[in-house]
Symmetry: C2
Subunit: 97 residues, 2 copies
DNA sequence: AAGGTATATGCGTTTAGGCGCATAAGGAGG
DNA sequence: CCTCCTTATGCGCCTAAACGCATATACCTT
């Protein structure tokens, strides 16, 4: 459990995970553009997420496509659901204030 | 969201949170005994959990009683539920292997 | 083969975080 | 007041982790 929580407790990785949460594939170049991270930084963070088992990657020509691990256990999927739901709620409260 | 995930992504704090998850009060001395942490270490980790809003404390004579923040938003409570449920499941799988 | 795009990685630096030790602070009880 | 118990904190140390830069690797196109 700790590796997963650690993986999520970094700004860059959290942002990446939020993007991958849609279930679709995203290449590193897209992630770094959207998140605003340098290439090496983005690449390394994706390795951490992969190591934690949260994402899988696939080479496609010169790109590497990442997506949320489709074999995530229901409990872990539920954890991600709860995380992003809570985050949405916290953002709402923040904007209201 | 990140402060909460960071707070949970440490062994000692995770163990403490799991104990406080029962909703009851626990003094630092109990936590350090059960978890096996030194006093300063336990105290500091509890400050982190408190800072993250996950727990509240109360002075009671020479003790400080900690418990899960009773005003935790439903979404954050659900997050904790998901975390500990996922952890239980992971432990089960680990023991089965 | 050469050049261009995309990604990973070795390396050195910097920073954040956890730790123990010692000490302070809060409170109980003689 | 003094002592004991419990908790917090200042401080220095040490390790893990994040970063940028440069370079290697993989793949495509021409």
């Amino acid at each position: 459990m700790l590796p997963i929580l650690s993986a999520l407790s970094d700004q860059t990785r959290f942002a990446a995970m939020r993007l991958l949460y849609d279930g679709d594939e995203h290449c590193v170049c897209e992630l770094m553009r959207v998140i605003g991270a340098t290439q090496s930084r983005m690449s390394r963070h994706m390795q951490v997420l992969k190591q934690a088992g949260l994402v899988v990657d696939r080479r496609d020509a010169q790109w590497v496509r990442y997506r949320m691990n489709p074999d995530l256990s229901p409990d872990l999927k539920a954890l991600l659901d709860a995380v992003f739901r809570a985050e949405t709620q916290l953002n709402r409260e923040r904007n209201a204030a």
